[in-house]
């Protein structure tokens, strides 16, 4: 399941709902991204997440479908927030549940790595020296690359 929303999410409730009643699940891997109060050398007051409504949902669904094709998942979830977020607030939740932990971990990392390089979100940071659009990180491209080796054309 995927969701794009302004409001915060209840982590415990989301994960309980994700695994409820499915006793085939042996492992649940989860990643939560949070707003940090420092970027580079500068204090961050807040950030605003812009996105492309319609295309965002389409891409997130495709990323999730791709994960389900690559790993034997029992359940998966992507929740991404938009709008203005302050340090300490949650930005994104990705989760993958499988019979065994290795598949859950790999799928979870795949979901966040691909989301970061494929889902149309943009971060505007409010720093001491004014607002600044975040630039793409080379590290994120590299993290996504490792999943590309298996299937060069998938979900693009």
């Amino acid at each position: 399941m995927i969701r794009v929303q302004r409001e915060d999410f209840d982590l415990g409730a989301e994960l309980a709902a994700l695994t409820a009643g499915n006793h085939k699940i042996g492992g649940l891997a989860v990643f939560v991204g949070l707003v940090r109060d420092v970027v580079g050398e500068q204090a961050l007051g807040a950030m605003t997440l812009e996105h492309y409504p319609g295309m965002t949902e389409k891409m997130l669904e495709r990323i999730e479908a791709e994960a389900k094709q690559r790993w034997p998942l029992e359940a998966s979830l992507i929740v991404h927030r938009t709008g203005r977020l302050e340090p300490g607030e949650r930005i994104v939740l990705v989760a993958a549940a499988s019979r065994h932990r290795q598949a859950a971990f790999e799928a979870c990392q795949f979901l966040i790595d691909w989301l970061k390089t494929k889902a149309p979100f943009w971060k505007l940071e409010e720093t001491e020296s004014g607002p600044r659009w975040v630039e793409a990180r080379a590290g994120d491209d590299q993290a996504a690359e490792r999943w590309k080796k298996r299937d060069p054309d998938a979900a693009e």
Partner: protein, 83 residues
């Protein structure tokens, strides 16, 4: 043709969305970007560096050689930075 601009492209061009009517020979992504840049002003500035530019046609990532037509929704944006 419906054009959408995101992040700093929106700021430089000065609008998030506009309806434009490129001539019929503007039938690929690359040709559209050339035509937009030739309008000068914010468009030219926003399109100065096309290496990092992302393009989606009808909400699908598109390459320079991909076709565009009058009924399409075309979005231009910098590299994505979500998550």
């Amino acid at each position: 043709m419906k054009l959408l601009y995101f992040a700093w492209l929106k700021t430089k061009i000065g609008t998030a969305e506009e309806e434009l009517n490129p001539p019929p020979e503007v039938d690929t992504v690359a040709a559209l970007l050339d035509w937009l840049a030739a309008r000068g002003g914010g468009h030219a500035e926003a399109l100065a560096d096309r290496n990092a530019l992302g393009v989606a046609v009808n909400q699908e990532y598109a390459r320079p050689e991909d076709p565009v037509g009058p009924d399409d929704e075309v979005a231009l944006f910098p590299p994505v930075t979500g998550g």
